[in-house]
């Protein structure tokens, strides 16, 4: 449930969100595939409800802080989500996720000695939001710099707060408009049954998606998507 609704949550129970990447169709550009998806959604009966944006910056631990023990530098990702405009998320790959307020960005500037921003690492996805019954679908174009790299699709089911409960429901909905490109259950759903889903889980899914897209680019033109 977005924070734009009048009732505010007192505890961090959040609706279930599934983020996946939609492969670009053969012979079509990213733009055209996005339009195809949005048209399918509109045929289904969804209504447009504004736009969204999720972005991610990478930092790695500065060489000076790595002691003589030979630790490898860890990558830290600082992300923002327009659904939570007053928050900033900082996470390590397999580690904890910190939810802070937007002043965290300023703090990162001060921590220049410990964390250095990786060059040209900013990746973001932007697009429109669609509402269908209790589902919120966000279709966005993933861009790194000036070039479009892929498509991200996020589906949020408002009423449910426990991840393992409604996966089959979400899957059925995804199949209705993604067709054969439906993804499998994400890792965050698997490990915890009966725990309440939180926005941190969504950001972890986005981080994995962005990493996957970044790796795709590093492979020279393979032609398979």
């Amino acid at each position: 449930m977005s924070n734009s609704r009048p009732t505010t949550n007192i505890f961090a129970a959040q609706p279930i969100q599934r983020v996946s990447q939609m492969p670009v169709a053969e012979g079509k550009s990213v733009q055209q595939t996005v339009e195809l998806l949005t048209r399918k959604l509109e045929v289904l009966g969804a209504e447009k409800q504004g736009t969204f944006c999720v972005d991610c910056e990478t930092y790695h631990t500065a060489a000076s802080t790595l002691g003589s023990q030979g630790q490898t530098g860890k990558l830290m990702y600082v992300m923002h989500n327009s659904e939570y405009p007053l928050s900033c998320f900082a996470l390590f790959e397999n580690g904890p996720c910190l939810i802070a307020d937007t002043n965290f960005d300023v703090l990162m500037v001060k921590l220049k000695g410990f964390f250095q921003s990786a060059k040209a690492s900013k990746i973001e996805t932007r697009g429109t939001r669609y509402q269908y019954c209790d589902f919120l679908v966000k279709v966005g174009t993933v861009t790194m710099g000036p070039s479009a790299r892929g498509i991200s699709v996020e589906v949020e089911y408002g009423p449910c707060v426990v991840a393992s409960d409604c996966w089959s429901l979400l899957l059925e909905f995804l199949q209705s408009f993604l067709g054969s490109h439906t993804p499998g259950a994400p890792a965050v759903f698997g490990n915890r049954h009966d725990t309440v889903y939180g926005p941190a889980d969504t950001m972890v899914q986005y981080m994995e998606l962005f990493n996957k897209i970044r790796k795709q680019q590093q492979v020279p033109v393979a032609g398979i998507r």
């Binding site: 009966g45 019954c133 209790d134 589902f135 707060v161 409960d165 059925e172 209705s176 309440v196």
Partner: protein, 311 residues
């Protein structure tokens, strides 16, 4: 118009106090008349002054006497009873415009009518149960003897009894927790939390269920002042649908003589919503229909169906 004053008021002392007020008023006006008239015509100045002062003192004494009398009587009168029989709605009786908005009298009539209706329905069901249509009529006879005869009029049950029934039902189901509160008078309001799926607010009238509202687990059920919010609907369509079904259920489960059985059946039915998002529809086998999961639960078998799939 019903008289909210009860035996706390001594009407005899009340009328005496009113006449004491009148006596006090007349003695006070006599004092001022005496001052206004001034001194009477007498031979000497001293005589005039003495007469005036004596007259003035007499009048003041009578004022004092009347005031003491009034105070004594006002202590005897007593306070009117604070208990309105209909609590806050009794304040409607203070509306002076009776002919344009006869709300209070209509409210009382509706209340008396519904009480009578409930009483008659109880009597009728008792009589009809004796002429049972089922062949196994012996069952009803045996259980009627075993059931405690001292069941009072089911509409005016002591709150302790209601509390007991609710806490017994609370203990019956481990995944369902029921919180009872009485923020508005004697009718109980239950907040039922079913696992991590949904929350239900049930408004009761003694042991009968009046209204239900179903909301999501993450939705706010309290108003800004911290009281239970019994009016606002859920933000999600699926829970609005479940609220409609719950209202149908409380109309379906009816048994005037045994309201605790009714509450238990309703809670059992509600408990079947534990798997709201996990159970597919028994008829079409799918999870979603128009974006909604199977929200209907059959009243006898508790199977899940889509609203459009139910037989």
């Amino acid at each position: 118009m019903a008289d909210p004053l009860s035996v706390g008021v001594n009407l005899e002392a009340f009328s005496q106090a009113i006449s004491a007020i009148q006596a006090l008023r007349s003695s006070v006006s006599r004092v001022f008349d005496c001052l206004k008239d001034g001194m009477r015509n007498k031979e000497t100045l001293e005589g005039r002054e003495k007469a005036f002062i004596a007259h003035f003192q007499d009048n003041l004494h009578s004022v004092n006497r009347d005031l003491n009398e009034l105070e004594r009587l006002s202590n005897l009168v007593g306070k009117p009873s604070e208990n309105h029989p209909l609590h806050n709605s009794g304040l409607l009786s203070l509306d002076p415009v009776q002919d344009k908005t006869p709300l209070y009298s209509q409210l009382l009539q509706a209340y008396k009518w519904s009480n009578k209706l409930q009483y008659h329905a109880g009597l009728a069901s008792g009589l009809l149960n004796q002429q049972s249509l089922k062949r196994s009529a012996n069952q009803m006879g045996v259980s009627a003897k075993r059931r405690p005869k001292a069941q009072p009029t089911t509409l005016v049950l002591p709150p302790q009894y209601v509390d007991d029934v609710i806490s017994r039902i609370d203990r019956m189901f481990p995944e369902m927790s029921i919180q009872l509160s009485r923020p508005n008078g004697t009718s109980a309001m239950l907040l039922v939390t079913l696992g991590k799926v949904l929350k239900v607010i049930v408004v009761m009238r003694s042991l009968f269920i009046d209204r239900t509202i179903v909301k999501g687990y993450n939705e706010n059920v309290y108003t800004e002042d911290g009281k239970l919010d019994i009016w606002s609907k859920s933000n999600y369509q699926v829970f609005q649908k479940v609220t409609d079904h719950a209202t149908t259920a409380l109309l379906h489960y009816q048994l005037p003589q045994m309201p605790d059985v009714v509450v238990r059946s309703f809670m059992t039915w509600l408990r079947s919503y534990m798997k709201l998002f996990q159970a597919p529809c028994q008829r079409c086998g799918r999870f979603l229909q128009d974006g909604l999961p199977p929200t209907w639960r059959d009243f006898r078998t508790l199977e899940a169906f889509h609203d459009t799939c139910r037989q």
